[in-house]
Subunit: 409 residues, 2 copies
């Protein structure tokens, strides 16, 4: 078996109706690897059915990218397609929605010259910034989902023949994207309502800190002042409520960069820039990592947390029950869209401005004063499992059960 | 057998080195149907090897286009991706080269609502104009070549199983593109030199008219005042000599819109907007068609020549020997890039400004005064064959043999 066309069509429908919530007459820019064409085509159908103006796919190809690394002159790696990204920014400025389909081989560039990769990434990030700011600033409705390409499936299931690997990954992507019931759009409405109820409950308590306990973990994560819990659907500045991530399971907020104490053991391996880091154990004091070790990939871990001053402090804390479909799959996807939804996690590095009350209108200095961390990295790693207990600590020092045995208390 | 990878790689090399003549550090925008990806990938390799800066493929997909026609709201057909085309124009303005790979199913839109198609085409043409003007004005080096897609092959060889049809079309495309010898780049240099020698000879004679004779044909085509014969390589305003068409066999110029007399019989069927027009016979008097008939598709022919006033007059005359590889293939490609190189042809409608001495700096009124036609159409149809004789008529009324028995005299 390969990719089931019925569930693929459901994914397209969910991506268009729930992910984007595309509006009548709204244009759509759809970026995807060319290997995701079967999903691109179904998204186009559902977007036009929903009244989209014009759907413009911008397709990338792994082999064209690799041709650059094997053949191009060294000085060319500072080039980027600025004309294309500026055009996208202009289109977003005129109201176009944006969908990204993930699915490239996560290890695509792991064998290439790391300096060339870094320079190309830098040039791309710089050229893409005007478009990216309209996306991260939520000027328009946007969404990311994923297609189970063969290159990705071979990495996730290296021991299976390719058709079986693709079928397995497809099943996992579809289940994680909550497509298996009779009415996926209704299932997503219910899921969003559940996430919203958790957000409201957490925001109502306005905890000072969360206390995580589990095997190898006793960690108190202070929360930023004025932090706000987010998760599930978001309403963009154009008034359209969208789901930026399909799938999503987390509710998440901003920790206080100076207030993290204790020790924590990762519950899953971390895939970082082509290396798998296993059995991470970290000690925090006054918000900063004072000791970090791993049984495999420790050198990469040390290099990562030395990226800059903020790389040793937290920028995100997120709650995901152990019963979430991605956690239950037991699969390491090598893709943050999935892996960060497998368990409660923390992220080292940059915080999200939107995880403050009124955060989108705050300056960087105000965010810092409230405890928001800043860094060039943002790396999520999983610390939750079936034995995770979490208490919320209130302003008066009281304790409220949040998680028990890996589930909402 | 499918598409031979060795000759496909040669086509990519010829397209990059001869077609584009891409320069070190020059960026490349490469438009193609996604079905032409095997050629896109080899073009990327050869472009980077030749020192290209960044190669950006912009891939279109037939099924995404068809999803629009089957699902989109009627009012959406006036939309175009202006942001993308404006970006391309900006990139050309900054020196990027442009390659287009043809290969879409020529009948892709023949079953769709013709009003929707016309509106989408109009919106596209309008949005694309700034980019198109930089291409047709030869600001930058550009080139078109073709990939034998399955959809195209099924149309050309409807009676063959698909793999055989693709293999046959691939062979025809490769042969037409002059890739069969040991050194295709050298073969193109020789071919360009031959075309240039023909151009020089014709320009040196500065004929007043060409007199075509053959079965069913006795036609005197007056040439525009100050006309210039073109064909093969061209030098763009950025100083780069490129071959805009791979393949190309024709030398061509601008006839005088008021000076065409006699009758002419088409030697091949004409594929026009999804209809095959067969056995066209036309009578000209004082430059204008006074009678036109066809054994099949005559209504479409009549509609075409009624598009506007210029649609009944000539805008191009082109010389192609019967021994040209495309003519010898005997294949109707349903694609002007190939079919117009199968035989001597004339075009009804718009003339080319570049086919005047100093034409790129002339205004529309000066072009008209010299005999250049204008129209919203430009439709090439074949009038040459193995029995075609052509005389050039000099200023003094003398006759110079140009073609005898379908070949250069
Ligand atoms: Zn997260
Ligand atoms: Zn994160
Ligand atoms: Zn021509
Ligand atoms: Zn023509």
């Amino acid at each position: 078996g390969r990719v089931d066309p019925v569930r693929l069509d459901r994914l397209a429908e969910v991506a268009v109706k729930v992910g984007l919530n595309i509006q009548p007459g709204q244009d759509l820019i759809l970026t995807a690897p060319v290997a995701a064409l079967p999903l691109v085509r179904r998204v186009a159908v559902h977007a036009y059915r929903a009244g989209a103006g014009l759907v413009t796919p911008i397709l990338s190809d792994e082999q064209v990218v690799l041709a650059r690394y094997s053949e191009a002159r060294p000085e060319s790696f500072d080039h980027a397609a600025g004309w294309l990204f500026s055009g996208m920014a202009a289109a977003f400025g005129e109201g176009a929605a944006r969908m990204a389909i993930a699915g490239d081989n996560p290890m695509m560039l792991s064998g290439q010259d790391s300096e060339a990769v870094a320079r190309a990434n830098k040039a791309n990030s710089h050229a893409y910034r005007p478009a990216m700011e309209r996306i991260t600033g939520f000027d328009i409705n946007w969404s990311i989902c994923a297609y189970p390409t063969a290159a990705w499936a071979r990495l996730v299931f290296p021991d299976l023949p390719e058709p079986e690997a693709v079928a397995r990954l497809a099943n996992a992507v579809f289940r994680a994207s909550r497509l298996d019931g009779p009415d996926p759009v209704a299932a997503w409405a219910e899921h969003n309502a559940n996430l919203m109820a958790r957000r409201r409950w957490l925001n109502g308590h306005d905890f000072q800190a969360l206390h995580f306990r589990g095997p190898g973990t006793d960690l108190t994560v202070g929360l930023a002042e004025g932090h706000e819990w987010m998760g599930g659907a978001s309403t963009a500045k154009n008034g359209v409520t969208c789901n930026p991530n399909i799938p999503t399971e987390e509710v998440f907020t901003t920790p206080h960069a100076l207030r993290c104490e204790g020790y924590v053991r990762a519950t899953k391996p971390l895939s970082y820039m082509g290396t798998l880091i296993e059995n991470i154990e970290v000690q925090f004091s006054q918000g900063v990592i004072v000791e970090a070790k791993a049984t495999k990939g420790e050198a990469v871990l040390q290099k990562m947390i030395s990226s800059d001053e903020g790389a040793r402090r937290l920028g995100e804390v997120a709650l995901v029950p152990h019963s979430s479909p991605i956690s239950q799959s037991g699969i390491l996807f090598y893709n943050t869209l999935f892996d960060e939804n497998a368990a409660c996690h923390i992220a080292l590095g940059q915080c999200y401005a939107k995880c403050f009350r009124g955060g989108t209108s705050m300056g960087a200095e105000e965010i810092r004063q409230r405890g928001g961390n800043s860094s060039i990295i943002h790396v999520d790693w999983m610390i939750g499992g079936p034995e995770t207990d979490i208490d919320g600590i209130t302003a008066s020092g009281g304790r409220v059960p949040v998680f028990r045995g890996g589930e909402w208390a």
